[in-house]
Symmetry: C4
Amino acid sequence: MLKLYRMLPSSSSSSSRNQLLQILSYRKLEVRDFSTSTNNYSAAKGYASDRIFAPYSVYKGKAAFSLSPCLPTFTKLDSGALVVDRRGSIMMSFMPAIGERKYDSDKKQRFALSATEVGSLIAMGPQDSCEFFHDPSMKSSNAGQVRKSLSIKPHSNGYFVSLNVVNTLLNTKDNFSVPVTTAEFAVMKTACSFALPHIMGWDHLTSPTNQQSSGKVSFQPKTNSHILDLEWEK
Amino acid sequence: MLKLYRMLPSSSSSSSRNQLLQILSYRKLEVRDFSTSTNNYSAAKGYASDRIFAPYSVYKGKAAFSLSPCLPTFTKLDSGALVVDRRGSIMMSFMPAIGERKYDSDKKQRFALSATEVGSLIAMGPQDSCEFFHDPSMKSSNAGQVRKSLSIKPHSNGYFVSLNVVNTLLNTKDNFSVPVTTAEFAVMKTACSFALPHIMGWDHLTSPTNQQSSGKVSFQPKTNSHILDLEWEK
Amino acid sequence: MLKLYRMLPSSSSSSSRNQLLQILSYRKLEVRDFSTSTNNYSAAKGYASDRIFAPYSVYKGKAAFSLSPCLPTFTKLDSGALVVDRRGSIMMSFMPAIGERKYDSDKKQRFALSATEVGSLIAMGPQDSCEFFHDPSMKSSNAGQVRKSLSIKPHSNGYFVSLNVVNTLLNTKDNFSVPVTTAEFAVMKTACSFALPHIMGWDHLTSPTNQQSSGKVSFQPKTNSHILDLEWEK
Amino acid sequence: MLKLYRMLPSSSSSSSRNQLLQILSYRKLEVRDFSTSTNNYSAAKGYASDRIFAPYSVYKGKAAFSLSPCLPTFTKLDSGALVVDRRGSIMMSFMPAIGERKYDSDKKQRFALSATEVGSLIAMGPQDSCEFFHDPSMKSSNAGQVRKSLSIKPHSNGYFVSLNVVNTLLNTKDNFSVPVTTAEFAVMKTACSFALPHIMGWDHLTSPTNQQSSGKVSFQPKTNSHILDLEWEK
């Protein structure tokens, strides 16, 4: 079963909704495949209505990729404290082109940028390059079976963003290379800079919306307040 | 009917309200002309009271322009998921001067900067220039009848921001050229950097205010959580 | 009556509260002097409890200044639309030193940076300088009686921030000059960049908290939605 | 009693929760030691459930450190006004390594970066260095007994972040030195830039969530509104 969708020209809004519905239907399939989730807070029932899709996508001749922030999940301890359960990331999803403005979602590959990898991207100057290596099965018995590398390298008018996935189990190699303009990279940098404190969970430490328990009076989490004491009192 | 309004000197707040009321009355006319809107969420009745006007305006000798963010609209699917219906933009509105500090709102022309075009503006160095081309009727039978181009070009102390609109149907040509200082351009860059994640809809992916369904426990949209699994599990 | 307060050393938190209480008592006096305010929304009764004080202050040998954002005020029209009534600013307040770590609040002078002036400050490189001129009575019969100029000029390790106020009516001249380090100027730039969209009122155009009327579905103000149509439809 | 915890490799999420639980348990001990807090708003009872932990940590061979924002606390005056009671900071916590990926939390030392010190960090170019000195007991009879210095110095691919603590009372000297990559430093800069307005308390001056008392109409704190009048009217 081959699933395709057309690239959306930036100025044609007429087909936008249909395309996004199509993307969504794929994702619903993916969700179904992995619905045996752990019982953490993010998977509590009733959240189906909270799915929001707003990826930033770059469609080019041979491949496309999109960026979307994934927030950290928190676990509530018996004490009532919240602690990060799974770290957030910027998820990059790549698809190969299989025709003019057609991309193969069945060959989608993902790469989750950690906070520090996002920092690397944000800090890049016009002549800088970077490369990250992930092994999804690291430290398990399957270590080394799948190796992913993402590279960002400068070219004349922007960067090449490339993902390489080697799966020794399936004996497959996937390679995606997408040229991005300086304008597109500026969007990536600005959006990632915006998202970084959120994928770190720092928005929960600083947001006034978390501070309204005492009416309009701001507060900081009790423990941090004491940490501050520690420097002075120790 | 020729509608005019006076330029507001930056330090005279006395006439500010009147001017803004006048701008608003024009806009209400415009709204009336286009009130046969599609039945999406942004057009649900009852929103008349939510109109907010806070453009950033640059008034110069021959023309003026203003910037205002336009948020994306979302469609709610049967599944409860939200998907971008129309992409957001930074709307630029130009008016020609027709006298000292008088501008002709009947000759207003608009240009909606996409996220990537905003990225281009944000990334501009002091000697950089950029130009964008829009055809409002692209891919329709009217394609090519109206052609718009926006250019930003460096000059001694800032940039020239120019809009060119050629309407072959009405046989009209409009040209607006507004010199902006480096200070004004810094406001444009900072404001556009602030607005960019919002016109992309990323504020909905990261805002704690969207995460309060489970009390004070943060969560990420269920699907994204599974997308994160995908990198590790695939 | 001469009112004084001591400078707070950055690492001594013990006297912080007393100092701030003292500052506040001065400000209440000032408020009383000007309580014949216009009947706009910001002056609606009941807001006394919403006063929040968190200025960024730079205390130096001959003078001190502080920065604090002043939000725009909006007026609600009969149509329900909100329109900016008074533009926001970054208020700078200067006081001369009259002894070691003592400053004279009776000789306080203020200078309200507009959005564009904030842009000028944000855009400054290490060797740049800028100067702004204000006449509080511009366009009135008192024009020219009070002239204020604020300058920011580079020096070896940062900038000199200076305010000059000439009052021909009172025949007084006040001059304040405060050296700021690059670290202090970085705080000023970062804080002003953060505040700029807020003093422009753009936070009201982009904040999800303004978009909750239709449940969790985002929307943009109705009129802006139509403005977006305008580029395509005109 | 020696408490240890293992370093979490960035791509292994399986042990993440356990590690964080362990960190938390240490912190609860610390909180207990200092629970004789002043009766300010941040210590009001009922806040135990609001503890949130999301530090940014850099683990290296000889030591580790983490960053976490500490919000300012406010005091409500009889007039209803809020005034900063204790200034916010970015808390840095260092621990020495005592084996491969093992760190000694009993030898933890803290250093609270003030807003201006954060500005210094944010403003650092690739070749810049900075150093800060704190005396937790400054201006008390114990002045000089504990001296802390934090330095950030450039090296080939990033910076060395070092903390030096000399305690003449206990006759101890602690030294921590952690190399950070440019990517890690970019995360620190971006996260600190995000947090800076919050540790200054400016989010309370600008957040629309503080402005909803009059329905959807924005306002600015009453006093600030009058401060604005002051520039024009004085």
